[in-house]
Structure formats: C-alpha cells, structure tokens
C-alpha cells in the first residue's frame, strides 16, 4: 500500500513539474506578444495625432519656424532604399546562382561562410567602412548611404535566393537539359522563373529590414541641408535618422514628430512583411506544382 501511494506521489510530482513547465512556456510566448502589443500601441497612440497632411508635405527643418513635417525624410528614405535595392538585388541573385548552380565543395562553402560573416558585421561598422571608402575626401551622399544599406542587404537577398533555388526540383533542370538547352538557359529560363516569388519575398523582407536602419547612415548621409532634397549626390535625410535626431531635442513637439515618423515606419514594415508572407505562400505552392 505504502509503495503504491509512494508511486502515486512520484507520478503526481512529475505531472506537476510538467504542468509548471508548460505554463512557463505559455507565459514566455504571452510575454513576447505583450511586448509587441505595448510597443505598437505606444507608437500608434503617440503618433496617430501627428499623422496629418503637413507630415507628408512639409520638410523637417532644423531651426525652422512654422508647421513642419517629415516630407524630406520620406523622400530620402525612398531614394536611398531604392538605390540599395538596385545594387544588392542583382548581385545577391548572381551570388546565389553561383553558389547553387555552379560552385563546388570548398569554393561553395567559403562563399556561404563569407555571406554569414558579412550578415553578422554590425551595421555601425558598415557605416564606418563606407565612410572610409567613399565619404572621406568627397562628401556624404545618398549614394554612399545607399551603398551602405546595399552591403547590409546583400547577404539577406542572396541567402533567401539560395534557399528557394534549392527548393526547385532537379527534375526540372534535367528536363531542360534533356531537350538540349544549355546550362545558362536552363538556369535563367527554367529554374529562376520558378523562384521569382521566393526571390521577391527575400528582397521585400530585406527592404523592410534596411529601411529601419540608422547606424550605417550616421556617417554617410547625416549632414542634411534644410528643405527638400531629391539629388542623391547630396546627403539626404531619412526617416530613422530623423527619429534619432528628434529624440535629442528639448522640444516636446519634436518628440511628437519622432513618434509620427516611427508610426509610418512601423506601418510600412508591417505592410511589407505581410506582402512578403503572402508572396512566400504563393511561390511555395507554385514550386510544389512544378515539381509534380
């Protein structure tokens, strides 16, 4: 009898430990969701009241008077992220093609390792690198900032492209080569079109990631003239940098503008991530169909 109750206690304790651990895991997940909720709620609450037409039509001016917005920051961010995408996307795809379709053994591994190392380099170090490479002796510019963001995008784009290229079934390659298509036409005409959705997903996520980066812009595009600026050969204001600079102010209305900028940035990133998710499910279905 006593033996049996002892066993019962033992089982009860094991079940109790199990219950506690499961509860802790639930709590951890709830905590993450709660943090996200609180951050987004704070930004929305403080930013919404500032979302007006002036924000999108009037530039941010240091020591300026009258109604101010962030128009120059939005324009600058679009231009710089556009430049970065135009540089990183083709090169990233080419690297992925090389690694996945051409390279062997050690070469392949060393390129992958290089991309991993590049992905791990802190953004602020990239900023100094571009500063030393381009800005010293010349001047800060939208091009320099775009290049810095492109360096950050490159490993993201090529890694995601590699992942979708690896999903394309070999039967497709074999079929194309079997009817006599040369390797390059197989790659560009048959394999790559299958991956368009996945490549776009990766590109879009990379855009979302670098659009919020501030650190690489500090040394490459921070000396900004007042007023609108569309010329990427000159330094351009960006949304993250504007937020960073506005927090340094003593003026409460500047904080309000920082929140508004943060809200627009978050909305943009949420929109882009959702688009990416949608593209990803679509392209996965397409590749699966092609494999059959």
């Amino acid at each position: 009898m006593s033996v049996l109750t002892g066993r019962d206690d033992h089982l009860r304790r094991r079940r109790f430990v199990n219950r506690v651990m499961e509860l802790l895991a639930w709590l951890a997940a709830a905590l993450a969701v709660a943090i996200l909720g609180i951050v987004i709620f704070s930004v929305a609450k403080k930013g919404l009241s500032q979302l007006n037409l002036d924000l999108f039509t009037k530039p941010l001016q240091l020591y300026g008077t009258g109604p101010q917005g962030l128009a120059n920051a939005f324009v600058g961010s679009l231009i710089i992220v556009g430049i970065a995408t135009a540089m990183a996307l083709p090169v990233g795809i080419l690297i992925a093609i090389y690694v996945n379709e051409y390279a062997h053994g050690a070469v392949r591994n060393s390129v992958r390792l290089t991309l991993d190392v590049l992905a791990g380099v802190p953004a602020i170090v990239i900023g100094f690198f571009v500063f030393e490479l381009i800005v010293v002796g010349h001047q800060q510019s939208g091009y320099a900032a775009g290049f810095a963001l492109a360096v950050l995008m490159l490993p993201l784009v090529s890694r995601s492209t590699m992942e979708v290229l690896a999903l394309v079934p070999d039967s497709l390659r074999e079929a194309a080569l079997g009817v006599g298509a040369p390797r390059w036409r197989t790659t560009l005409g048959v394999v790559l079109p299958q991956t368009i959705g996945g490549v776009l997903t990766g590109a879009v996520l990379a855009v979302a990631r670098v659009a919020g980066e501030t650190a690489p812009l500090l040394f490459t595009s921070s000396l900004v003239a007042s007023g609108m600026q569309y010329n990427p050969a000159k330094p351009l204001l960006t949304v993250p940098l504007a937020i960073y600079e506005l927090t340094d102010s003593d003026n409460p209305s500047d904080y309000a503008r920082a929140w508004a900028g943060a809200l627009v940035l978050i909305l943009f990133i949420l929109f882009v991530s959702l688009t990416a998710r949608w593209l990803a499910t679509r392209s996965r279905r397409k590749i699966q169909r092609a494999g059959r």
């Binding site: 094991r14 430990v17 199990n18 651990m21 499961e22 895991a25 951890a28 997940a29 993450a32 969701v33 996200l36 951050v39 930004v43 080419l94 093609i97 090389y98 690694v99 051409y102 390279a103 992958r112 991309l115 991993d116 190392v117 590049l118 791990g120 380099v121 802190p122 953004a123 602020i124 170090v125 100094f128 690198f129 030393e132 360096v151 490159l154 993201l156 290229l165 690896a166 390659r173 074999e174 080569l177 390797r183 390059w184 036409r185 560009l188 979302a208 990631r209 919020g212 650190a215 500090l218 040394f219 937020i243 960073y244 927090t247 904080y255 920082a258 943060a262 978050i266 990133i269 949420l270």
Partner: protein, 323 residues
C-alpha cells in the same frame, strides 16, 4: 535577420562535363565575379576599418582596449569602460533572453494549439522586424520612466545588498539598455530555436512518450539534447547582435564614461558611444579612436560568427553519427 543552416545541404550538380556554351561562360563568369565580390567586400571592410583606426592603433597600441579614458582635451582615449559596458549589457541580455526565447520556441513547436501557432509565430517575427530606432524611442520615452519610477526602486529595496542593484535615480541607465537589448535578441533566438525544435525527428519524441515520460521529460530528454548545438549557435548569434547594437542602446543608456557596478547608473557601450559621438569629433585622433572601437566590434562579430558556424557543423556531424 541572421539565420543558420538548419536544413541539410542539398547538392544540386548532377550534370558536369558538358560542353561550355558562350552563354554559360558569361553567366558563370558574372555569377562567379559576384561571389568573388562578396569575398573582396569582407576583406575591404576589414582593410578600411583597420586603415581608419591606424592613427589610434599607432598612438595607443593594444592597451587602448582596456585603457579607461575618454579625454579629448588631453588626447587620451581608451575603450576600457565601453568594452566593460558592452560585455555587461550583452551578457545580461543573453542570460535573460535565452530561457524566455526557449520557452517561446517550445510553445510554438510543441504546445501551441493549431489555430494560434501561425499567428503567434508571425507576431514573434514581427517583433524582430521592429527597427532599433523605434525600440530605442520607445525605450527612452515609455519604458525608461516606468523602470525609473517603479521597477528600479523596487529591485533596489529588495536586492540592494548586492552592489549591482544600487541606488536608482536616472531613467537612462545600464539596466534599461539591458531590457531593450533583451527585447531585441529575444525573437532572434526564439525563431531559430523553434526551427530546430521542429526538426527533431518525431519518432524520437514518440518513442519517449511511449516509454511513459511526461511532455516536459520528453523535451528534456530528447528535444534539448538533440538541438543543443543549434541552440548554442542561436544564442551566439543573438549575442553578436547585442554587441553590435548601437542606436537603441545609445538612446537609453545615458552617457557615462566610467566603470560602475551599479546597473541603475548610466553607462555606455562601444557601439552606442560611436552613435552618440558621430558628429563633431574634436580631432583626427578622436575619430580614429572611434574607428578603433569599430575594429574591436568587427573582430568580435567575426569571431562570434565563426564560433557559431563551428558549433553548428560539429553538432551536425555528431547527429549524423548517432542517427
């Protein structure tokens, strides 16, 4: 986000020894050039950062790393206190974030009911996508006042006998930076760990359950040992992120250039100090010293990354042997 190779590497080169076409030559040439370009790029980054810090390197040498000074008037610079701040904040953030992240990953891979698994996974990934400047803004204007008024004094009165939890008076302090960094690396470690947990062969898990283990005992006995290497690598990657984070930390850590055990005092880190001082540096030596900081961060990040890769590869090999 940085990610690890969790899926087995699929080699796709069944066709070799074919006649080279001109088109092949061009495509392979361009692609190879791009790949070579990435190698050159990493080399160039190292070279340029070393070049930029050469003045500080030749003036102060290696002792710069542990020398505690930032005195533009007497041209005395050192990384000591900043390195201290970097190590304290990143290690503390890692220690706090890891168990929570593992809990999240277990929830998403083992516990969550079907209906909420997808949405919660998406939310955790969204948390990772929030820009550091927004987290920093929130940390400065929302989190820091709450910590200053409620959390810091409570911790001080409960644990004040430990020097770490000294008297609190500022909202911008090392502890706030630790909380912000924890929030930033949490989703990184959680999402990599989740993928690893999902990759544990179901027959192993079912075997354990069939032997009569509870779910937690199965996790401890099967899931944790199977994914140990990968989770360690995920922690290392999160740690690398915490070391290099500049903007969010710059906004919430205050600005103090000394060493203090009290985490409720302002402090600083290498990356944050760069972000706070990028404009209006007093001298070429000061700029060069900041780039020396970047060099320390670069070396740190490369070592951290190589270590993570090494661990992943070793544990993948070990799994290949036992399976």
């Amino acid at each position: 986000m940085t990610s690890l190779d969790v899926s087995p590497d699929a080699a796709r080169r069944p066709f070799s020894g074919r006649r080279m076409h001109l088109g092949d030559l061009i495509l392979q040439g361009l692609a190879g050039l791009a790949a070579l370009g990435s190698l050159v790029l990493v080399g160039l980054i190292a070279w340029k950062v070393i070049q930029g810090s050469r003045l500080a390197l030749s003036t102060f040498g290696l002792p710069f790393i542990w020398h505690v000074a930032w005195d533009p008037v007497h041209n005395q610079f050192g990384a000591g206190s900043f390195l201290f701040g970097t190590v304290v904040t990143s290690v503390a953030a890692l220690v706090i974030a890891t168990p929570i992240a593992i809990g999240i990953a277990l929830f998403l891979s083992e516990l969550a009911p079907r209906g909420i698994r997808g949405p919660v996974t998406a939310l955790v990934e969204t948390l990772a996508a929030i820009p550091s400047v927004v987290i920093g803004l929130w940390g400065l204007l929302v989190l820091a006042p709450v910590l200053r008024d409620d959390v810091d004094p409570a911790l001080h009165s409960a644990l004040g006998f430990i020097p770490l939890f000294g008297k609190a008076s500022y909202g911008s302090n090392v502890f706030t930076a630790i909380v912000v960094l924890t929030i930033m690396i949490l989703p990184i470690i959680a999402s990599i760990s989740r993928e690893l947990y999902l990759g544990v062969p179901p027959e192993l898990k079912e075997g354990a359950i069939a032997l009569g283990t509870t779910r937690w005992e199965m996790i401890r006995g099967v899931v944790f040992p199977y994914t140990r290497g990968g989770v360690a690598a995920a922690m290392i990657l999160g740690y690398g992120r915490a070391i290099g984070e500049a903007i969010a930390v710059a906004l919430v850590i205050g600005s103090f250039t000394g060493i203090s055990a009290n985490i409720f005092k302002p402090g600083n880190t290498l990356a944050a100090w760069i972000a706070q001082n990028y404009a209006g540096l007093p001298s070429a030596l000061a700029l060069s010293s900041l780039i020396y900081f970047a060099l320390i961060l670069l070396v740190f990040s490369i070592l951290v990354n190589l270590l993570a890769q090494f661990i992943v590869r070793r544990s993948a090999r070990a799994q290949g042997l036992t399976r």
